[in-house]
Every structure is written in C-alpha cells, then in structure tokens.
C-alpha cells in the first residue's frame, strides 16, 4: 500500500481555463463598456451610438487627468487637436495619450483624428495608441472600430500581454514566465487557484501584485457576462 502511495500523483486543482469572450458574449456586454469620448466638437455618430445603446460620456476636454483616470473607463476615444490645452499645450492629444498609457496601460485609447500629418510627427506616441478613427469615417466603419476596441478591452489575452511585459521586467528567466502563462491559461478564471499555483513558482512580490490586478480585471469582465 505504501508502495502505491509513493507513485500516487499530487492532486491537481480543478481547471478553470481563461477564454476569450464569444461573439454572443461580446454582443451581450458591449453596451456595458464605459466609453469616454473627448472632443470639443459635436460628433453626429455619438448621438446615434448612444441611441443604439452604447454607454458614452462626452467630454470637451480633460481638465484633471488623474480624476479622469479614476473614473475607470474601459475605452477612450481621444481627439488630437484642441484637447489637452492645459495639460500638454504643445502636443495636445498626443501628450494625453502618452500620460494615459503610462498610468493605465490596460486602458484602450483610440485616437480620433483628422490630422494625419500629426501621426508622422508624433510617431512614437502614435505607436502606443490602440487604434485610429478618421474623423470622416462612415458610421458603420466607426462602429466597427469601436466594437473592436471594446473587444480588446474585454480580451484576457490583451490584458495578459500587458502583464507579461511587466513580469519580464521582474523575472529574467523566460521559462518561469512561460510557466506563469501556462497557469494563467489553465486556471485564469479562478483567481484564488491561479494565484496559489503561481506562488509555487515565484515569490516575487511585484509579479504577484501585478497578476492580482490582472485577475481582478478578468473577474470584472466575468461579472459583466454573468452578473451575480
């Protein structure tokens, strides 16, 4: 009997794989995405999107960027010219984008632009934007880009890629990072189990803290799909 127990495998926790939302799930929750639209002008598409059910708050400008961040939007559509005059007068919307992405990398920021030459001028800043919407894009194309942004905001894979960047700054061993990734994929839907398993391979406080934040985002997305 003792002999058999030596070979008895350790009990594995119950699998709780992390999955991307299905089309139906996304359709169900897309109107719950909190969207901020920052533009000092009236945008005809916004009214129609609101009529369709999108949850959009329009701002003429961002006065206090930290207050704005505390409102925890899922997605921001940000004009380039004429915004951020107080915060970044020279680079306007580009300066805001830089600050938003640095302070809240998980936030989806779509630049709303009619000034393409500005993209060339601020190439580095432009690279961190999640997408661009041309000012004179037709409604359906505009909506399609917005839906893609919402999809990204509710994508575990997208958020994990951001965490991965942070983890790589803390752990240089790529094998450990891959192990963490594997745990996230297998148990990511169950925060407690996933964190327990991760703690078995790393005790790095910053990594645990960062992943804790990641699992909170996942829980939030889950709660939108299946409210308790």
């Amino acid at each position: 009997m003792k002999f058999f127990s030596l070979f008895k495998s350790k009990k594995q926790p119950k699998l709780a794989p992390l999955k991307e939302l299905t089309f139906d799930e996304l359709e169900k929750i897309k109107f719950q995405a909190r969207i901020a639209f920052v533009d000092d002008e009236e945008i005809p598409h916004v009214n129609r999107l609101r009529e369709d059910g999108y949850n959009i708050t329009q701002y003429e400008d961002i006065e206090n960027i930290d207050d704005f961040l505390r409102k925890k939007y899922h997605l921001i559509i940000l004009d380039i010219q004429g915004v951020g005059q107080n915060i970044s007068p020279k680079s306007e919307g580009w300066g805001i984008l830089k600050y938003l992405k640095k302070s809240a990398p998980n936030l989806i920021v779509i630049m709303f632009t009619g000034a393409e030459w500005s993209i060339t001028k601020y190439k580095d800043e432009a690279n961190v934007a999640d997408d661009f919407i041309g000012k004179d894009l037709e409604f359906l194309d505009f909506k399609s880009k917005l839906d893609n942004g919402i999809k990204k905001a509710f994508s575990p894979e997208y958020h994990f890629e951001i965490e991965k960047g942070r983890i790589l700054k803390e752990i240089s061993n790529t094998q450990t990072v891959e192990q963490i990734k594997s745990i996230v994929e297998k148990y990511g839907s169950d925060k407690a189990t996933a964190l327990t398993e991760i703690k078995k391979i790393t005790q790095n406080k910053n990594v645990i803290e960062s992943l804790d934040g990641f699992f909170s985002i996942i829980n939030h997305i889950k709660s939108l799909v299946s409210p308790i």
């Binding site: 000034a115 393409e116 030459w117 060339t120 041309g134 000012k135 004179d136 037709e138 359906l140």
Partner: protein, 363 residues
C-alpha cells in the same frame, strides 16, 4: 518687384539698381563716377549666380552684397570684418546696417516667396485641411444618420432607396474625403509607416460595389456609365477603408482615361476561385505605348498619350499598387488593342487586382 533690401537686377542686358522696401540704396550708387565700375562688377556677379547658394561679398565701394540666383541685395553694411578703409560706412549708413545671418535668411525667404514656395505657409494649409475634414465629418455623420444604414449587408439597398438629394450629399462628402485622403499619401514614407489592422475582415464585393455606386452618382456632366458584373462572396482581412481607396483609384483612373465615356464606359468585373479574388477594371482609351507600360506604377509617371490632354500627378497608380501590397494583392496591366491598324491608337486598358484569399496578416 521691389525686394525688402536694395537690389540690382539685369533687365534686358541693362543693369538696374533699385531701392528696397526697408532701406534705400546708398548715395554712392547713383554717382556717375561709380557707374562703370559697379556695372562691370555686378554684371559678372549676376552671370555667375547659382540658385543653390547665397554668394556673399564686398563690392568695389565697400558695401556688402548677397546674391541668390536672380536676387542680388546690394548697398548693405554688415558685421563683416576686414573692411579696411570703408569702415566708416557703418557710421554713414546706419539704416543700411544689418546682421549677415539675418540678411541670408531674408534672401532665401524672398526667393521662396517669388517662387511661390512659401506663398501659403504649410501650417495654414494643414490647419485648414484639418478643419475641412472636421466639417466634412459633420456632413457625413448627419447624412449617415438620415440614411440610417445599420449594417454593411443593407448598405446597397438602403442607398438605392434614398432620394437623389441625399445620395448627392453622401457622395459629395465621400469625394471630399477621398481628396483629403489623397493628400496624406504625399507624406514621406506613408505606405511604409501605414499600419493596417488585420483583426477584422470585410466582403470585397460590397466594397467594390459601393465605390461604383459612388462614382455612378458623382457630379460629372456627361458621366460615363460604369458596368459592373460578376460575383464574389469572400471576405479578406484588413481595414476596408484603405481597400476602398484602392478600388476608388482604379475606378477614377478608368473614368478619367475613357476616351468616349458616354458611349463606351468603364467595365468592372469581379470573380473568384479557390485561391484568389480578381477585380478587373477596363477602360477604352488611348493605347499606352509598349515602352511605357513597365513604368505605369512608378511614382510620378505619366504616359505621353495622356500627359497633354489630362491633368494629373502620376501618383494614382503608384498609390494603388502600394496599397495593394497591404492586402496581399497585386495590380497588373494589360492592353488590348482595338485594331491592328497602326494609325488607330485606341485600346482597352485593363487593370487587374488579384487578391490572395489566404493572405498573411502582415505586409
């Protein structure tokens, strides 16, 4: 033309000294005793001039001159050292005293002004373009609201059911957008830097059909009828916005170079097989000489057969080919001559866009 500073110009082999807007010529220039020596000196300076650099020197009277191509500032006193016996000029002509770097900048500025290079400051152009795009978005947005098209599937039917006025406003707004889009292609490395997102897909047939509908409703008098045949139901990955611009260029090109647009309009055909979707755009126009055909997609190239009769920049097909690469496709050209008789120089010019269905996600 009077320049900002005193100048000399060579008018029909006759040298003429002119006062400037900001200061006049020194009295020494009007003295008969100095006339021959000044004429001899500046005739040589003006004949040696090059448009690239500013030549700076001291004339026989001790004044500084600056020469850029046809502009030659004269009679100026600068901070140039080693003026020797002429050092008292700065006391005598305090109003003609300027910093040499400032004068250099001014002569370039006036040169560009005369050549219309700086006539409209670029900031004003870009700012206005931005404003136009913003306003156009309001027109487009409101007309979208009136048309109330809820999906790409219903676009065609709903568009057809609109009143003529609504169609015209929609088309006008789209055509303005195309003009503004066209301007951005002139940015250095635009196509190299263009990042198309491949996480979405669209039906090719719908985009082609939409572009044809726009051009069937444009504002040209004696508009050509565009024939559209064939069917394709496949989707390809990428953003449809740039794909539609690519189709727009081919259709616009076909319309522009149709020789008898009312009688023989452009023909567009779409078909597909397992691997590819093909869009063929034909126009009946001038025969492109064989020797010119390899250069049709080159930047700035214009065929000799259309160069004089049609305006253009030679950028359309270049832009289209650059865009096609972002959709794993290629545009090819062939020419079907209307007749074997040498004196007839008409032909079907055929552009085929062949799109790989199993396109990879990167350029």
């Amino acid at each position: 033309m009077n320049f900002g500073y005193p100048s000399v110009n060579n008018n029909r082999s006759q040298l003429r000294f002119n006062n400037g807007r900001f200061c006049n010529l020194p009295k020494e220039y009007s003295k008969d005793t100095n006339k021959i020596i000044l004429e001899r000196f500046f005739t040589k300076i003006l004949s040696d001039s090059s448009s690239k650099d500013v030549i700076i020197g001291v004339d026989p009277l001790g004044f500084t001159f600056l020469n850029l191509d046809f502009i030659c500032y004269v009679g100026l006193v600068t901070n140039k050292k080693n003026r020797g016996k002429y050092n008292n000029l700065s006391k005598k002509y305090p109003l003609n005293k300027f910093d040499i770097d400032y004068l250099k900048k001014q002569i370039f500025f006036e040169y560009d002004l005369v050549n219309f290079k700086e006539y409209i400051p670029i900031e004003i152009v870009t700012q206005n373009l931005h404003e136009i795009r913003g306003l156009n978005s309001k027109i487009g947005g409101n007309i979208d609201n009136i048309m109330h098209i809820n999906s790409d599937e219903e676009w065609e039917e709903k568009f057809d059911n609109q009143t003529e006025n609504i169609k015209k406003i929609y088309v006008g707004s789209r055509l303005i957008k195309f003009i503004l889009d066209n301007i951005k292609f002139y940015q250095p490395n635009f196509f190299k830097n263009l990042k198309i997102k491949y996480d979405r897909s669209f039906v090719v047939h719908r985009s082609v059909s939409k572009m044809i509908k726009i051009y069937r409703n444009d504002f040209k008098k004696g508009r050509a009828d565009i024939e559209f045949t064939g069917r394709s139901s496949s989707t390809i990955k990428g953003e449809k916005e740039y794909f539609e611009i690519l189709i727009k260029i081919l259709i616009e090109n076909a319309l522009k170079y149709s020789e008898f647009p009312k009688k023989i309009g452009p023909k567009v055909e779409i078909f597909e097989n397992k691997k590819t979707i093909s869009i063929v755009v034909k126009s009946y126009g001038r025969l492109i000489p064989i020797t010119e055909r390899p250069y049709l997609f080159s930047k700035g190239f214009r065929s000799t057969v259309n160069q004089k009769t049609k305006e253009g920049t030679g950028m359309g097909l270049f832009n289209a080919q650059q865009l096609s690469r972002h959709y794993d496709s290629i545009i090819t050209f062939e020419c079907k001559e209307a007749s074997q008789v040498e004196s007839i120089d008409l032909a079907w010019n055929i552009f085929t866009l062949e799109i790989n269905k199993t396109m990879p996600n990167t350029v």
